[in-house]
């Protein structure tokens, strides 16, 4: 069976959940080989983690020389690994960086690219959600080695023991790839809540919060949910842009999405329409968000959300 390269999504060696989803998907296409581009010293530790989800091999590419540079060095490393292994497919997390690595790689190795897949079946047939979630599209790469970027929550991670054989891979990185440098970086402050794109539940607030996100956070914490926001809330400066959901923010597809004080503009829908269960709380019964909901409450979020949070906390005991 051919190898399937899976680029590990991690922050300083801490493996992020989408990696396990990608490994699960990779098993449908061939033999998963995880690729860790990070600190060589962490290779063994990372290998232990990905091995539990079926990684047969773990290529460790030490990033000491390339850590401070954007995208291009990673694409070069993957190109060289692809040339060495002739993989059946290359799976990359659909983060903004992941997509750009994939874009450069596609040109380098002369392969087709599919981005933002929400599912990948045997034979490499992908499912994508397009036009603000109004269409689903089935597609396939027809040239070269399929490169597919996969969105978070696209598969339930399945544990299965792989060999996890570590292989150091030293990539040759050109100077040209070191053109864009990270001059400063401020890691996002931990919120103590789940990561927005990975969360099983999301509670989002919009202009209707009038800047007070306490009711949103209260309900989110009662449900163990992540907090999100509309662009109107972000543009008003009530919450940082990283919480924005929609066309120009994050796309989420949780089991439960609660929209409070959000009207449901097409650009907002684009980021949440594929959520499994949708709930809205809005004062205006004509708000377009109600067209999407499984359950809606016409009312003031400042009354409904805190009371619901209380009841939920009581039930949980």
């Amino acid at each position: 069976m051919s190898e399937v390269l899976v680029l590990i999504d991690h922050v300083d060696g801490a493996v992020r959940k989408p990696t396990y989803e990608l490994l699960t998907i990779a098993k449908r296409l061939g033999e998963p080989s995880a690729v860790f581009i990070g600190s060589g010293a962490q290779g063994a530790e990372v290998a232990e983690k990905v091995k539990a989800y079926g990684a047969e091999k773990v290529y460790v590419v030490d990033d000491a020389q390339i850590k401070g540079y954007l995208v291009a060095p990673k694409a070069e490393a993957l190109q060289q690994l692809a040339e060495k292994t002739s993989p059946a497919a290359i799976l990359i997390p659909s983060t903004s960086e992941g997509k750009e690595v994939a874009g450069r790689l596609a040109i380098k190795i002369g392969s087709g690219l599919i981005t933002d897949a929400v599912d990948v079946q045997e034979g490499g047939v992908t499912t994508q959600s397009v036009f603000a979630g109004n269409y689903t599209v089935q597609a396939k790469v027809t040239k070269g080695t399929p490169i597919i970027t996969v969105k978070p929550n696209s598969a339930a991670p399945e544990e299965s023991a792989g060999a996890g054989a570590v292989e150091e891979f030293s990539a040759t990185i050109s100077d040209a790839a070191k053109g864009a440098q990270i001059v400063a970086s401020q890691p996002r402050k931990a919120t103590g809540r789940p990561e927005l794109t990975e969360a099983a539940s999301v509670v989002a607030g919009g202009r209707g919060t009038a800047g007070n996100f306490e009711p949103i956070e209260g309900l989110a914490d009662a449900l163990g949910a992540a907090v999100g926001a509309s662009r109107a809330a972000v543009d008003s400066g009530w919450i940082p842009h990283t919480f924005q959901i929609g066309q120009t923010g994050k796309t989420v597809s949780p089991q439960l999405y609660v929209a409070a004080g959000i009207s449901g503009a097409i650009q907002h829908r684009a980021g949440m329409q594929t959520s499994k269960t949708i709930v809205a709380v809005n004062k205006d019964e004509e708000a377009p968000i109600f067209e999407l909901v499984d359950f809606g409450v016409v009312g003031d979020l400042n009354a409904v959300l805190p009371a619901a949070a209380d009841e939920i906390n009581k039930r949980k005991g």
Binding site: L70, V71, S96, E97, K99, E100, V101, G103, R104, A106, I107, S111, G112, L113, D116, V125, S129, F131, A132, G133, Y135, T136, Q138, A139, K140, V141, T142, G179, A180, Q181, I182, A184, S185, Q186, P187, R188, H241, Q247, T248, L256, Q273, I278, E285, E291, L292, V293, D294, F295, G296, V297, V298, D300, A303, V304, A308, D310, E311, I312, R315, K316
Partner: protein
């Protein structure tokens, strides 16, 4: 300085967007316009030009069908100096790999560019990969998804919300830059701008003008193939209750419990 802005003509997101029977995006039956997200790219290009204050020139380039010339016109009305529209029947149905090839060749022919500015994503395909592909094809660095852009001579510094951190990125021109909708509101064309645009140079190029083989682009040679498109089944109408004296919170809690979210 020479700045090229890549602008795409897209079906209006608020209209009913559709697919053709060959599974390509319907670009004719639905009203189109300059992608809103590329207006931010034009705006940043114009601001950089204004700040440079010298003989900096901004050229808007668009690949697309006949009607797509509207996107170029809009960029000229906003203040771009020159427009280039690459149109050729053979381009129809091109995917990102092919689009980036045509763009790269057009940018090369437009003359050496110091800065190539793109939007963060096209509002129809929403791939956010063309800028990276273009950079790869032109062997340039890419500085993407900028929310704040600063230039000084040939130095570019941007701020951006990365996937896990807020970052400052630095690079030296020439490079490919993409900007987000956080980078600052795009200007509306003024009456003067609209009048002036009519006299600005607008060239139409075919594939042979830029030396691209028709056999390398278009639907029949696409590197990816769409097998099927399905409209999302309409969501079944949910239950909607009115909150009266706290009944809403109880009903909501019951619903969440019935779905096992509690």
């Amino acid at each position: 300085m020479n700045i090229v802005v890549c602008v795409k003509y897209v079906p209006d997101a608020t209209a009913d967007r559709q697919f053709e029977s060959d599974n390509t995006v319907d670009r004719v039956g639905v009203d189109g316009l300059l992608s809103e997200l590329d207006e931010y790219a034009v705006e940043q290009a114009l601001q950089i030009k204004e700040k440079a204050g010298d003989d900096t020139e901004v050229t808007a380039v668009c690949i697309g069908p006949e009607k797509a010339v509207d996107a170029v016109r809009k960029a000229l009305q906003m203040g771009a100096d020159k427009g280039i529209h690459v149109v050729d029947d053979a381009i129809a149905g091109s995917d990102a790999v092919a689009t980036s090839l045509v763009l790269a060749k057009a940018v090369e022919k437009a003359g050496p560019a110091d800065l190539i500015v793109c939007g963060m994503a096209s509002t129809d395909a929403v791939m956010s990969v063309v800028p990276a592909m273009l950079a790869e094809r032109l062997s340039l660095p890419q500085v993407t998804l900028a929310s704040v852009v600063e230039t000084q001579g040939d130095q570019v510094r941007v701020k951006r919300d990365g996937d896990t951190a807020t970052e400052v990125i630095g690079a030296t021109m020439p490079l490919v830059l993409s900007v987000t909708d956080q980078s600052g509101e795009a200007r509306y064309p003024s009456f003067k701008g609209i009048m002036a645009a009519k006299k600005k140079p607008l060239e139409t190029w075919s594939l042979s003008d830029i030396g691209v083989d028709a056999g390398d682009v278009g639907l029949s040679v696409a590197w990816t193939e769409v097998e099927d498109t399905t409209p999302r089944p309409p969501r079944t109408a949910g239950e909607i209750v009115k909150d009266e004296d706290g009944s809403g919170a109880t009903a909501l809690t019951e619903f969440l419990a019935s779905k096992k979210f509690i």
